[in-house]
């Protein structure tokens, strides 16, 4: 059963439509990430689920209960939805100690004192914050504040965790540490998690499923591997991956019995592609799907090294060919230097094709 069901959700701010007719189901126990460029409406979706923003249209069900319905005029207040939210800024109350921050939610729910103390101690211990109960948030590091925010969410035992870019204020090292923490939390609590981020690495490493949004609309929801390997649209292909995917514009041509993709600087056989002849398509190739060879090869096309950017475990090589630059990912280091003449090999299976108009993915027959 889906834990969160969203149907036809729409939200306008003045004349701007932030979220438009969005439908999505999140399965119980799933870790789903909403990913998209800033301003795509992902945070608005999260806030509408939390109840902090009132949608203009649509329906939201959590655990089978309708918490919002524009048709029936239902809007359950945030505290009664059984969801917990971690804010981007953590939103810890600066005038309360760690203990007070965590116990606040239990106090307003009138939980008995002994029970409250027990639960507060438990969540603080779980987030490894014991001994810091009497500190104020400002006296703690960013990572510790983050943990307090998580403890505060946990103590109410929500069925659903909502997280709004919780790691964006941390430095790179802490971010990786907290990523692991959040993953552990999700696994142990078995709570459905909806996570918002604009950081694709975060999305790809944490989630069981990634939902990509563009201008208020959901464009693809799939497991990370599929998002990366088989992007559903040109937008997704271009948005995911660093360095960005190589995009080559061209069209489908026939030569004798065979069909080819003929693009700028590149020509590839496409026997099974479901595309019309003469159709304008864009080929997208991940940097690691291109191989660099130094010896001439009939499968390879020549080019010239434009730049070499080593980054430790891998090296990005930019290769100049017929007026454009290809990004190629090479594992480890390389002895290539600027100006070297090289040859690029393309694996046909590693290439995705998209309609230039509309950006839809073009599938291959049988695959």
């Amino acid at each position: 059963m889906a834990m969160i069901e969203i149907e036809g959700l729409t939200k306008r701010f003045g004349s701007v439509t932030a979220v438009s007719d969005l439908s999505l189901a999140v399965e119980a126990g799933e870790f789903l990430t909403l990913l998209g460029p800033s301003g795509c409406g992902k945070t608005t979706v999260l806030r509408m689920i939390a109840g902090l923003e009132i949608p203009d249209a649509g329906e939201i069900r959590i655990g089978g209960t309708t918490v919002f319905s524009s048709r029936e005029g239902i809007c359950v207040s945030p505290g009664k939805r059984g969801v917990g939210l971690v804010f981007q800024s953590y939103a810890l109350w600066p005038h309360m100690t760690v203990r007070q921050n965590v116990s606040f939610g239990l106090e307003v729910r009138k939980v008995a004192p002994e029970e409250m103390n027990r639960q507060v101690a438990e969540s603080l211990a779980y987030m490894r914050l014991d001994g810091m109960e009497e500190r104020y948030p400002q006296q703690m590091s960013g990572g510790q504040q983050q943990r307090v925010a998580l403890a505060r969410m946990l103590v109410a035992r929500p069925r659903v965790f909502l997280m709004d870019e919780p790691l964006s204020n941390l430095d790179a090292k802490l971010r990786i540490e907290m990523r692991a923490e959040i993953k552990r939390l999700h696994r142990e609590a078995q709570a459905t998690t909806l996570y918002v981020t604009h950081d694709q690495t975060e999305a790809l490493t944490l989630s069981s499923r990634v939902a990509i949004m563009e201008r208020g609309m959901l464009v693809q929801a799939a497991p990370p591997r599929e998002i990366y390997r088989r992007p559903g649209s040109l937008f997704v292909a271009d948005f995911i991956g660093s360095p960005t995917i190589n995009l080559i514009h061209g069209r489908i041509v026939r030569e004798g019995e065979e069909r080819f993709f003929e693009g700028e600087a590149l020509c590839l056989p496409v026997p099974l592609l479901k595309a019309r002849e003469g159709e304008a398509v864009t080929a997208a190739i991940r940097p690691e799907e291109i191989r660099i060879v130094t010896k001439e090869d009939k499968e390879a096309v020549p080019g010239e090294v434009y730049a070499v950017l080593p980054a430790g475990a891998e090296t990005i090589v930019q290769v100049f060919r017929q007026g454009r630059i290809f990004h190629v990912r090479v594992m480890g280091e390389t002895s290539l230097d600027i100006g070297d003449r090289v040859f690029l090999q393309f694996v046909p299976e590693g290439v995705s094709y998209f309609q230039q108009e509309g950006g839809d993915r073009i599938d291959t027959e049988g695959g």
Partner: protein, 600 residues
Amino acid sequence: MQSKSMRASARVLFNRVSLKLRQPQVLLGLLLVVVLTGLVVVPFLQMLHDTAVWQEADRRISRTAEPGAWTLFHYLRVFSSPLSVNIFYRPLLHSLATSMAISLAAMLLGTLMAWLVVRTDMPFRKTIGVFAVIPYILPSYTLALAWLDFFKNERIGGAVGICAYLFGVTPPDWLAYGFVPIVITLSLHYYPFTYLLVSGALVSIDSSLEESGEILGAGRFRILRRITFPLVLPALISAFILTFSRAVGTFGTPYFLGAPVRYFTLATTIYTSIVNRTPAVAYIGALVLILISMVIIAVNQKVIGEKSFVTIAGKGLRRRLMPLGPWRWAALTGMAALIALAVFVPLLLLLWQTLMLYPDDYSLGNLTLHYWIGASQAALAEGESGILRNVQILGAAWNSIRLSVIVALTTGIMGILIGYAVVKGRKTRLAAVLEQESFLPYLIPSIAFGAIYLSLFSRSIGPLPPLYGTFMLLVMICVAKNLPFSARSGISSMMQVAGELEEAGMMAGASWLQRFRRIILPLTLAGSLSGFILAFISTMRELSLIILLITPDTRTLTTMTFRYVEQGYSQFADAIILLIVLLVVGGEFLARRIGKREMI
């Protein structure tokens, strides 16, 4: 079937309405709009109405008067009658002339001081910077009273000033009263506006902006003219306009220094018209003042809107100080002298005056504490006892303190509530209306505001008895007048609190009252504290606003001063002023102390 669907749609309607009302900012916003309309808009419309109908008092001046009927009589009387020059055109000219001169002088003084403190190597710059703002903390007419103590001549009777005693020369009227002293005393009072605004602008200019000009080969003067000046220009214009709009509505100083030679400004004409029972004339004067003030502010927003620059004020802000060379000490002497003349000399003069048994005897043997602590003596000041044992003055002091505290608390809380409704309702029409309405009192000069309230509240409104003469009315007008500032500070402190910090409370399941009491209030109070003290101080020294609304039961320290000046008991007047200064400076000191210990 049909009734079922009807019931369903009724439920939907009910759900929708309750959803709207469950958003506290909507309910709160509506409530505040109603309150503000009652405090500002209704009184204003009433005053407008009163200018266009016959008044009861008009029977004395016109036989055709028919109380309650519409008439243009008052407008004609003010704008085109043989009296017009005296009751309108000359006071208008005086108002404009003094305000213009005051604003220019204050701007020059303030800019010079800001530049010396921020951008030069003048010794003791920091100390000068701290003292530079004191004149504005003092009541605006402190200097006027000190001026009278020094320059008074025989014209208003009673003792002459110290000047005549020290130098044996009686100061001429033009030096003792009217335009010259009004401009001098008020520019010394208002220059801190310019100082604060311009030094703020100067601080935010990174030297690299000027240095890049230097690298391009521009000379020092050219840099000042082409780079520095345009960057501080918006602050300069703001300062000018702020000063002008304050000066044009001020009552105390022009009255103390102008009335003896019948030099009236619009503000003082409003007062005398009320006293002479021609309120409609006062109301029209008030309208003109409001109009002037609105034009000024509109011009300001237009000019600033076009000319404002964002100078990137990052952490790497560096300022290079201009070496003044041998002029350093001269600059320090000048500034120290200025502050001495604006603050310490006047206060000492006032103190001396209060210690003199007989007002024209400047010998040491004449010194006494009678006017502070003396018991009633029939031979002195009609038997009034010293201010610290004078029941009337102590009553007035109690009124002043009570009023200031209540006003500070009320405006502070209202500011927070307005801030909440505006910030939470962002982008809704209700929030926009509320924000603009809370700004309205800013457009109405103090004395005009008093006139407006007089017009509405001197009669009963529906079931409400006339509020004129009640303490409540003083609270209302002071709250309304201070609202623009507290609303602004409420909005800015709410920006940080009403967002995610409150939403975190919603997620925890806290009701609005719980969120307000346990999250919003504790977090905004700290930030609003300085606003509270500001309202306390400004109410404590308020004269222009309440002078028209005071009755013997509700008098405050400021209006007592006013009365004693009119009666010629300068010892009492000066002693009370010193008492006010003490309370105000105490408040300011407290504010700074608390400000430092602001929340962890």
